[in-house]
Structures are given as structure tokens and as C-alpha cells.
Symmetry: C3
Subunit: 428 residues, 3 copies
Amino acid sequence: MTEKNIGNVMYGWAKDLFPINRSLMGAGVRETFNYFKNIIPELEIKSVSTGYKAFDWTVPEEWEIEEAYIENKDGERIIDFKTNNLHVVGYSEPVDEWLNLDELENHLYSLPEQPDAIPYVTSYYKKRWGFCLSENQRRKLEPGDYHVVVKSSFKEGVLNYGEIILPGKSSKEVFLSSYVCHPSMANNELSGPVVTIALTNWIRTLQDRNYTYRIVLIPETLGSIIYLSKHLEELKEKVFAGFNITCIGDDRCYSYLPSREGNTLSDQIALHVLQHTAPNFKKYTWLDRGSDERQYCAPGVDLPMATIMRSKYGEYPEYHTSDDNLDLISPEGLEGGLNALKKAIEVIEHNAVLKSTVYCEPQLGKRGLYPTVSVKGSANEARRMMNLISYCDGEHSLLQIANKINAPIWDLYAIVDKLVENKVIKVL
Amino acid sequence: MTEKNIGNVMYGWAKDLFPINRSLMGAGVRETFNYFKNIIPELEIKSVSTGYKAFDWTVPEEWEIEEAYIENKDGERIIDFKTNNLHVVGYSEPVDEWLNLDELENHLYSLPEQPDAIPYVTSYYKKRWGFCLSENQRRKLEPGDYHVVVKSSFKEGVLNYGEIILPGKSSKEVFLSSYVCHPSMANNELSGPVVTIALTNWIRTLQDRNYTYRIVLIPETLGSIIYLSKHLEELKEKVFAGFNITCIGDDRCYSYLPSREGNTLSDQIALHVLQHTAPNFKKYTWLDRGSDERQYCAPGVDLPMATIMRSKYGEYPEYHTSDDNLDLISPEGLEGGLNALKKAIEVIEHNAVLKSTVYCEPQLGKRGLYPTVSVKGSANEARRMMNLISYCDGEHSLLQIANKINAPIWDLYAIVDKLVENKVIKVL
Amino acid sequence: MTEKNIGNVMYGWAKDLFPINRSLMGAGVRETFNYFKNIIPELEIKSVSTGYKAFDWTVPEEWEIEEAYIENKDGERIIDFKTNNLHVVGYSEPVDEWLNLDELENHLYSLPEQPDAIPYVTSYYKKRWGFCLSENQRRKLEPGDYHVVVKSSFKEGVLNYGEIILPGKSSKEVFLSSYVCHPSMANNELSGPVVTIALTNWIRTLQDRNYTYRIVLIPETLGSIIYLSKHLEELKEKVFAGFNITCIGDDRCYSYLPSREGNTLSDQIALHVLQHTAPNFKKYTWLDRGSDERQYCAPGVDLPMATIMRSKYGEYPEYHTSDDNLDLISPEGLEGGLNALKKAIEVIEHNAVLKSTVYCEPQLGKRGLYPTVSVKGSANEARRMMNLISYCDGEHSLLQIANKINAPIWDLYAIVDKLVENKVIKVL
């Protein structure tokens, strides 16, 4: 893997992982984690058992599914889990019955307004069975009897999640979270873990990381609740910035969803990165939330987590249907999302509070940093440097300064290095 | 009286009270208070005597008026207090003289731009006499001599005011104030006390009131100053919300006038109620003030008093003229004003600070509060409930939460009850 | 000098001073200071020597220039310092050489886009020589040899600056600073010191000044850095408001440049004065800075200095060229700038915190301050007075009150005097 074609690499991972039948728990999830462990050896695959209590929630049984189909009177399998794992409602209980069409209808899910798409449906906490199919498939069903078969079973098992800790100079932590629990869908969800893994790989290469990185891959909702129930105090103490990584693989737009109050460092960073790289990005509010920020930013939890996305869950028509497939995401889409997150991590690593070492403006000319002849306009080039210095008061962070002087923060990194080297400013 | 036709009931009270010649002090005020005492037995009619000093002010003598008229040479009473009590300047001193028209002009008040209206004029603190008449009446006056008679007298007496205390579970108080001191005018002033009395009657019916209600009917300005001079420390200690009730009987618009800094709970409530029930309401500023908020929100007093009105004093053409009569107000206008204040009181009673009982989102599904099957869009109905819970952090009040989630607070009362009952949140 | 024709007087000073060859240090500066000392005897002319270290800076040698010219082969002086002192680069080292045109070009400065203007160029801290000429002059230079002569010298000397302290009742200080270091240019710079001197003269006439005034005339940048290096602690302790005075002589517009955070009393005053006298004024930001506020508002210095200008340095085409001459400024332009600063000083002197002496509204009628008859609209005249009183809560300054009630503060001075005299309010 080279950084150069990282978009294609990520797309390749997504392609490999797409067919696996992931769910809240079970074999599909483990297969996915094993795939990632081959890329990131530091990935630890952990588990909690059925019955484990996390705050208000309890880990259910594992669901195993062997096959599921609907047969017509002629013995033709007109709907088959094997052709698309979205065809069966997640956590469907076993069934083997003949039903007439009217009875069957109660167990069918389709989308009248998206007649070609198979919807994604689950029922984790209440036992039922059901089939999902396209509206067009449904319309073709003729009155008569159908043989419905779901060969599934429930058993005591484990809920798996992955954790990676990449230590840095400080024990203060940056927290990255993505989820693994959806079957064959691409933007939501495969783009999330795939970009997270690429980002983790890149973080591993950062020399002299200032901060420790904690990266988790968990099943959405229940997984983040479990992780919080095990690590809440530690996370509250250590985490000063973080991102939930989801829906980051198509190339239609960039999106931002805030933390609960929208005022954390992570929010400021997400906004800065998107304003300077994708100024037409879509800005959502806390009321538009729908992923694990619901847990990470819940009252009393309040981790500083913001979300940078491409097309946001719930906002694009293919969401939670069979149309959210490998055609929807692209190497460019994945790479754009990865780059935004890399820029965000770079901001975190560079965002020091700076202080001028002298009163008044330093004489930059004698250090070769300022034109020695004063002609109309001659100082324009040094202007950004002077603007930066003018806010090095020991109170503003570099990100705040960048916002004050209307500059992308990454344009300031080299200037800061030069000024620190020349002892004109220092890092507090 | 039933709640159903409360608009008509209030209008009936206004009709009964309209003819009475109220003033700063005196018999008309007492007659008005006695009328209200028949409706609200808890109303206590209190008094302070002539000469009583309240801060910078002193209670003047009572003014009694027997008759007042202008007669022409033919002995015809061309202006007569009996036909409209606005015809004489309030607190006019006695006079019995023949004057020529030029001399008379100095004592006449009319409104050239509203030629049909008799203006309302008073001179409480400086002795003078005068007649108010329509511009059309004035134009008909021919040169010649006129006999002017005011049979009035001043005497040591009392300034009356009414007070009602309706105790609640807490000794913390909601303060409601309206005024009784204007003669025959309807929107300003009869709508104020009439709606206040209806509101008081409704508050009496509230089971398990959380708060104590202090309701006063006082003459404007001097009355509120006297009441404050007697109760300032008590009011500052107990009152956490309140409304000045005035100009609340026509049905042209709704209006809001803030407290001095505009940031009290009462301001927030008034804005919330009007934004969600009459979004085109008119928003005035402190510089537009003109009623008893001038005293209640004065420096060092600073009670949290805001004002919800229909057409605001000084802003409608009929204000302080004979055109502010029973045609200007209506049962619907009065009822709309009453309802806005009732909604405001309900907000006060419901505005608790809420706290989630669990970390992370509660599992509402197991409590029957959330769909057990996850289909695209299935959570929409529970969305408002989830939004509410997401702000139950022990710091936001229900009103703040309603504003955060763009919901009318009254739509949340039942949800809060259900969540408290299910022990998902608790009231702090 | 009378106040009446102060515009002409200032213009006369500028005319007298225009020809002098000022620079960072030297005879021209001293001549200018001596001229001002004749007007303001309190002006003390101070000095620091070559080699003096001020924070990051060191005072260079004095530069003396006898003559400078370019001669062509025919012995004609085609460029001569005597005709315009902008023709030689400030601090040019001596030279006496024959050069061909190509070699000469490296030492020439002109402005292609302003072909008639001679630019103003300096090189204080690096030894070089050069000539400035109009683009039109430059285009006429034919290939061939030229005799370039700069008879200049450098010597240990002094950097001069002027200081005036005008004591007031309080030792708290208002700090005014302007600069003296530019050769023959009018808006930038002569308007600055000329208006400062007229302003100082006017401050001297203020009876019972509340505050002490510290006024300095220094060479820009190095002068303010030196002054700060000598007085930093004193200035930080005493100065509560101040203005940098520059570019205040033309009559095209008014301009405002803020302090670093833009929130000091001086900023509020500058904004108030300009909003009420020149509402179309141009509002710049800290990023547009370019004069001594760069030092006065530097991190750790943070004096409360704002800038009121006419056409701002760097923003008008004639800036730093020979076109910034006596035609650009005018008596009206200078007087307008002076008046804005006088109004600003008056605000400082009047800006007390006020407190009502009574609870509730005072009864102004008994003091003859309010109409005794209450007719519709009769209180309008007293409205501003009542508005003012309503904010006399011991927390708002008069400037804050003026902003709250949308009044020019100078319209309130007489009202405050009347209310204080009537003991209705008091000054805290």
C-alpha cells in the first residue's frame, strides 16, 4: 500500500468486505475484524458476552443464519438471502411455513418510492421474522401460497469490537470511532471502517506524535454504549478531541455534524478544515444526529466528538437500501474523506498555544524574515507572519489565530516552525 | 361562568365597568374593586392615605366630581361630563365662570388629527381645570361668552389598590399586575383588569400549583410605586417571574415588551408563547415602555416582569381617546390575550430542570416507547422524544430544551410525564 | 490662533513644516520638534542614543545628507534631492560613481502604475543607496553613463521624541501618540502631528480636566518601541484610553481601526463618535493595521489604543508618494479630524457611571422636568431623559447608556448635569 493510491486501496478493502453478512454480533463481524487485523496488527479484538449489562442495555444472543428464502408453489426461490443478505430482516427468528400472500404481506418490507431498492431492516430486541424485497419484486407476487424458510438460530455468544491504542508523547487522547454491524452496504457503513483503518495506518507513521490515539470499531449504538460503560471515566479524563467516522465514501459533498453543544475543539477543527477545503460543505445540527455521537455526546458523557462526513446517513436516497452499494462509493470519495480527517489530525498535532518572546513587534529584518527596504507594498509577503505574531499572546491557540487571520492553519505550520527556530515565538 | 364562553364573560364585565368614572383615587376605583371582589373573594382592597410617601412620590388628595359642563349663552350645555367622563381633565379644580372663547381656548384639549375623538387628559399633581372635546365640537364653538362649571372638590382620602395571594407548594412567587385608574376606556385600561381577574380565576382552579401567585390591581405609576415601597424586599426575594397586564382586549395583533435587560425568565416565556402561537407578534424594546414595567424594572428594583399585549398603548390610534371604547375590544380579543397568559403560566408551572437517569440513550424499545423494528424512517415519531432526552443533562430547563429542539413547550408536557413515569428522566 | 479658524491654522503649520527633510532621526526631526515647542511650551524634547536597545530593536546611527543627484553625461542634474527630498532612498549610504543605465536601474525606485508620482522608500537597517523618481522620469532615461552622487554620512547620534504631560484631577491617563519621521508628505504624516498639537492646545484649555493626558510625538515603529521600553509598566498601570493619531488631514472619508481585540473603551468611543458624526465611516480590522498600534496593542503591551483617521494609510493612491502633498489635505479635512478627536476626549471626560438616587422613577414633574399635564404625546420631550434615568443603575456608564438609548452621548451631557443638580441621579 502506498499513500499515492490510497483511494484505490481503500476501495479494494471495501470490495473484499462488501459481501460479508455483518450484523450486531456474530461470524460476519469477526470475519471483518480479522481482515482488518491483517492490516493493523495493533488491532485488538475484544468481546462481551450475551447478557452483559451496559447502562440501560443488555447484550442479546448471537444470531446465526444458514439460509432464508421464499419459494412459490412451483418450488422456485423467488427471494433468497444468498443473492443479497439484505433480503432477510436482521435477527429474524426461524420459520418454515406455507402462507398465502395476505399472510405473507405482514412479513414483507419494501419501499414504494424506491421501487428498485431492497430496504435494510433489523429487529434486534424483539423476536420476529421478515423478508425485505424491492417494491417491483413485491408487485410481481401473485395470490397463492408461498413457502417461507428462515433457517436461523440464537445462542449465547459474544459481541465483538476492535480497539487500537497508538501511544504518543502525551497520555491525552484523540478518540476515533467507527462502526461494524451492517451487512452489504457501502457508504453506510463500509466507508467508515475502511477510512478509519487507512487513517490509523497513517497515524502509525507520524513521527513524534504529540498525542495518544484511541481507535475503536464497534457495532453502532450498543457497541458505543458498551465501550462507554467500560471506559467512561478514563475517556472523560483523557479524550480532548475525537471524531465519529461514518458515511465517508461517496463524492457528492462534504458534511459536518456537531457535538451536542457544537463548541468543542473537534467542532472547531471540523469547521476549519471543511471551510478551507470544501467551503460548500453541508452543516447539520445536533437535531440531525443519528450515529454514535448520540452516545458519545449524551448528557454526562459529553466527549468532544464531532463528525466529518461525505453524504450523511438519512440524507441520500440510497441510504439503508441495496442501492448503497460499491457503485455509490469511489476511490476519490474515500480519499477525500480520508484527507479531511488527516488534515483534522494534523491540526490537533499542531494546535499549540503560542507566545511572543519579546514585547512589541520583533525586528524580523535582522533575521532575514522581512524586507530590508521599505517600499510601498513591500511588507505584503510578511503580512501573514506579522498577523500571526500579533496574536501570539499566550492565550490564542494556533487554530484560533488561523481563524482570526483568515488563513488555513496548514499554511501557518512552516511559519510557526521558522519563528520558533528564530526564537521570536515559543510554544507554551 | 364557564371556561367555554370566557371571552363573552370578560366582555360582559368590561361592559358593566365601562361607564364608571375611575381616576387615580376615589369612588370610581372603589366601585370597580367591589365589582371584582364579587368575582374573586380573595381580593383584598387595601389603601394608603393622602400624604403617604412612597420613594420620590406623595399620595395626593382624592378628587370628587359632581358635575362639569360648558354652557353657551343660550343656557345649552354643549359639553357635559355626564355624556362622557373624558370631557373633563382628570383632577380638574372647581371653576364657575363666564369666559369668552379666547379665554376658554386655554382650557380646551382636542386632537386636530383625530377630529371625532375626545382625548383623555389628566393633571394629578398640578392644580388646573380643563375640558376635553372632539376637534369637531371645538370647531363649532362660536365667538362669545361661555359658562364653565366644574363642581369638584379635593379632600384627604385614600388611594386604593387590590391584592390577591394564591398560595402554591413553593413560596416562590409569580407576580401579576394590572391597573385601575382610567375612566371610560376599553383596551387601555379595562381589558387589563378584566383579563387579570379571569386569569386569577383560572389560576385558582389549578390543582397542586407549584408556585404562589401574587396579583395586584393598582393605579398605574403611583400605585406600583406605592406597592413597591411597601414590599420591595419581599418581592425581590420571592418573585422569579411575572407579567404586567395591559392593553389585552382588541384582536388586531399580539405584542411583547421586554423587561429592562430583556433576559428574564418572563421574557423568555413571553417570546416562546408568542413565537409559537402568534409568530407575527410585534416585538417592542425597553425604549417603547410606558406602563408599570417602568417601576417594576427600574434600577435597584429589577423584578423579572415582561409584558404580553394585544395592541400596545401609544401604538394604536384610539389610545387615550373616547374611541378606545367597547367597540375596540371583543370577546375574541380578550380571550386570545387570556389564553396567551394562561399558556405563559403553564410554562412557569412546567418549567423544570430535567436530568437523564442513565448514561447514554435509554433503551426506549423495551419500555414500548420506540419502534422495535428498525426500518428507514421508523424512528421519526420518537425523534422529538429522543431530542428532548438528549438535553436532559441537569442544566437545561424544559423551556430551554423546547427552544433547542424547536418545539412548542406544551407539546412536550405529555412526553415529559411519560418519561418521568418510565424513570428515564427525573425532575431536579 | 483662535478656535474659529483652527483648520487654517493647522494647515499653515503643515505648510511651514512640509519642506523639512525629516527621517527616523536627525536634524529635520529636531527642526520639526522645535517648531512645535514654540506652540506648546510643555513639549519636552527627549532623546536616546545610537546603540540604545529597546526590546528587540537597536537605535541606528543618525543619517546626514548634504546633497544627492544623478547627472547625465552633459552634466545636467536630471534627478536632484534638492527639488524633492523623496528623490533619495532614506538612509542612503554615500556614493560617487559613474554607472551605465543598466547598473543604475538596480538603484532606482518608481511606480509603473502611478507614473507621475515619486515613491517614498527607506532602508534604515541595511546599508544601500538608491534614488526614487517618477515612472515618467525613468522612462526618459536613455542608455549611457550617469554620475550618481549621494553625499551622506552616518554618525553616532540621538533619536529624538517629544513628550507632553498635562495633569488632571486623576493620575489615570489618556495616551495620545503621533509620529514624526517622514519627509515631505502631508496626510501621512504631517496631518498627524499637526492635529495632535492642535488637540493638545485644546486639552490645555479644558478646565478641571478629570484625567491626565500623555501626548507623544515619536518616530513610527522604533519610536513607539523605545517609548514603551522606557514606560511600559507605568503606561499599563495608568492608561485607560488613547488614540494613535495619523492620516487625519484629507476630507474624503473617516476611518476607524480597532485595537487588537477591538473591545477597549477607546474602540467604543471611536465607534460612537463616528457612528453619530460620520455614519458612513470606513471600519477596518486589526488585520489592516500598519501604524504604532502594532506596538501599543502588541501581546503583553495591550494598551487600549484605537485609531480615528480620515483616509487610511495604504488605502489612498497618493499614500507614500510625492502626491501626498499639501493639495491632498485641507483646512476642512484637518478640522474634521480634530473635531472627531475632541469629541472623543469629551466622551472620556464625561463618561461616568451613574446611579439613580431613588427607587422607581423620580417624580420629575415636581422639579419642573416633566409636563404636569398628561396629554397623549406630552411626555415625548422628556422621553430621552426618562430613558437615560432608566439605565442609571450604577452599572452602566454614560457611553453605554447612550448606546442603549440610541442617542449621541453629547446630547446627554446637559441632561446629566440637570439631573445631578436636581439630585435625581449621582455620579459614582
